[in-house]
């Protein structure tokens, strides 16, 4: 008699658990379907496209194996654009992390108006790229731009010249603009990380006679190591694949000096309509990013409970 009730109880519990799990899955079902249809499928479809000679101007396409990849790697310009991507990514990420950390160190101390200041400094995070692009084209305009005017007055630029029209400086301009719009994220993360560092270690180090600089190098920086690694990886993914800003400010010019892989993918797709070829370039970028994504997802700690 007794064993029977406990068996029933057990059955009830199992069925409750099964129902509970089923309902839980029902809640996430829409997202699963959406991600399968519009993220996973497109990514796989892109893999397939990269092995075809698909084009936007002809109806049929056929499987061509690695032909697109061979074509890419035998193109000398590809290496130039790849190097541009590396330069753009490296300096943008280094700049935004350094600036983000610097500002976080400045504002982490409690001060009057601190919250308002932090809010103000976060603004670039939501400024549309198109706004930044139009302002920068305006202030760097060769004839009427205020920054061009200052540089021309200072003798750093010749009259009627713009930094955006010069092969070397154009890349630096877009990197600086990109740092301007992307430092708030690292700033916020560093700010939170700094706040969570145990104050006692500072007290201990002051007692031991360490100066401010030593405390920063030996106490603070090691505590920020993991944060920095995860942040850097995430920002590398975003920066290396970021298209909008360069497209709108320089369009990849002058003479390809700011063309990076995202611009190249766009040009191959909608400039010359060779979408098989474009898909192959995006696969190369994707494979490089894949490692970063795996690293980020496993190291970020976001999926832990």
């Amino acid at each position: 008699m007794r064993s029977r009730t406990s068996l029933n109880k057990h059955r009830l519990l199992v069925s409750y658990e099964r129902r509970h799990n089923l309902i839980g899955f029902a809640f996430v079902f829409p997202v699963v379907i959406f991600l399968l249809m519009f993220v996973l499928y497109p990514v796989l479809y892109n893999v397939w496209l990269s092995f075809t000679d698909s084009s936007l101007i002809k109806k049929t396409s056929s499987f061509v194996g690695f032909q697109n990849y061979v074509k890419i790697f035998s193109n000398k310009l590809f290496y130039k654009y790849f190097w541009n991507t590396c330069k753009w990514t490296f300096w943008s990420v280094l700049g935004q992390l350094a600036l983000g950390l610097g500002i976080a160190l400045l504002i982490v101390r409690p001060m009057k108006g601190g919250t308002a200041l932090r809010s103000f400094l976060l603004i670039p995070y939501v400024v549309p790229a198109v706004t930044l692009a139009l302002v920068s084209k305006w202030i760097l305009n060769s004839d009427y731009g205020i920054v061009s005017y200052w540089l021309q007055q200072a003798g750093l630029l010749e009259a009627r010249q713009s930094l955006l029209a010069m092969q070397g400086p154009a890349m630096w301009v877009v990197v600086i603009l990109n740092i301007w719009r992307s430092y708030p994220f690292p700033m916020l993360i560093y700010w939170a990380a700094l706040k969570s560092i145990d104050k006692q270690i500072y007290e201990a180090s002051t007692v031991d006679g360490a100066n401010r600089w030593q405390t920063f190098i030996y106490m603070t920086l090691p505590q920020l190591k993991n944060t920095t690694i995860v942040l850097a990886v995430l920002r590398v993914i975003w920066t290396a694949t970021y298209y909008d800003l360069i497209f709108m400010v320089t369009g990849g010019g002058p003479s390809g000096s700011t063309t990076h892989l995202p611009i190249l993918i766009y040009q191959a797709s909608f400039g010359s309509y060779q979408i098989g070829y474009a898909a192959a370039i995006s696969m190369i970028l994707g494979v490089l990013m894949f490692g970063c994504i795996i690293f980020y997802v496993t190291r970020s700690g976001l999926t832990e409970d």
């Binding site: 519009f38 496209l49 101390r109 809010s119 302002v135 993360i189 694949t241 766009y266 976001l302 832990e304």
Partner: protein, 281 residues
Amino acid sequence: MAKGMKRTKISRNIVVGILIAILVVIVGFPLAWMALSSFKPGVELFTIPPKIFPQNWSLEWYKQAFSNDDVIHYFLNSLYIASVVMVCDMIIGTLTAYGLTRFRFKGRKVIMISVLAAYCVPPIMLMLPLYKIMNTLALSGSHAGVIIAHLTVTLPFSVWLLVSFFKKLPKEIDEAAVMDGANEVQVFTKIEMPLCVSGVLSTGIMAFIMSWNEFLLASVLINKESMKTLTVGLANYISSTHIDWGIIMALGTITTIPVILLFALVQKYFVEGMTAGAVKG
């Protein structure tokens, strides 16, 4: 000794103050310059040396911008697309975050990881396949296509932000309600929803901002002038051969102001959500 320390403290405060002032100028200058330029009449826009403040404030450029039907379309299109994206994100995002944080079903971990991985898939990699898919689904050139495309970008972000909100809500309330005989759906609608309304709304507004700002996918999926979004229309203006700087500055200003205001509204939640579990060391 004490006096010396006080002095170094004061001088340090001065240095910090100067650095902050420089930062504020660097961040504020481009936006302020855009807004100021938009109020300068044509003559002043092109004087050398440029003056910082307009001598005669004028609304000329705003009038000209809005006398163009296309511009009004851009606005309404952006508003429509971003609003639908916002609502979809709030509904699907909340369901997902609730399911992921309150249930322990098989495959839960896989889904969490997939959402995070999807968050990392950049728009440039989705551009081409989405373009082809929308053609197949007969959605190219439609706003529905852009909305779906924007959801691929915003949904993983929203889920991620909402999961961090739901994690903070105490589970004990749920359990107490279940003890009292409430079922899962009732727990969700009667208990969780009211508690997380502000979090869900903030997430929705962030999705609105992301959709409003998005350029690449919207530019690829829409061809017709009257269907374009604000960012796409504006980008066309800056890349045209004859640039009407005054109109562009006016349009840039009205594109940016709503975004900054909305962000100010939700910033507290954004900061909490991003720093809660964003990058754990």
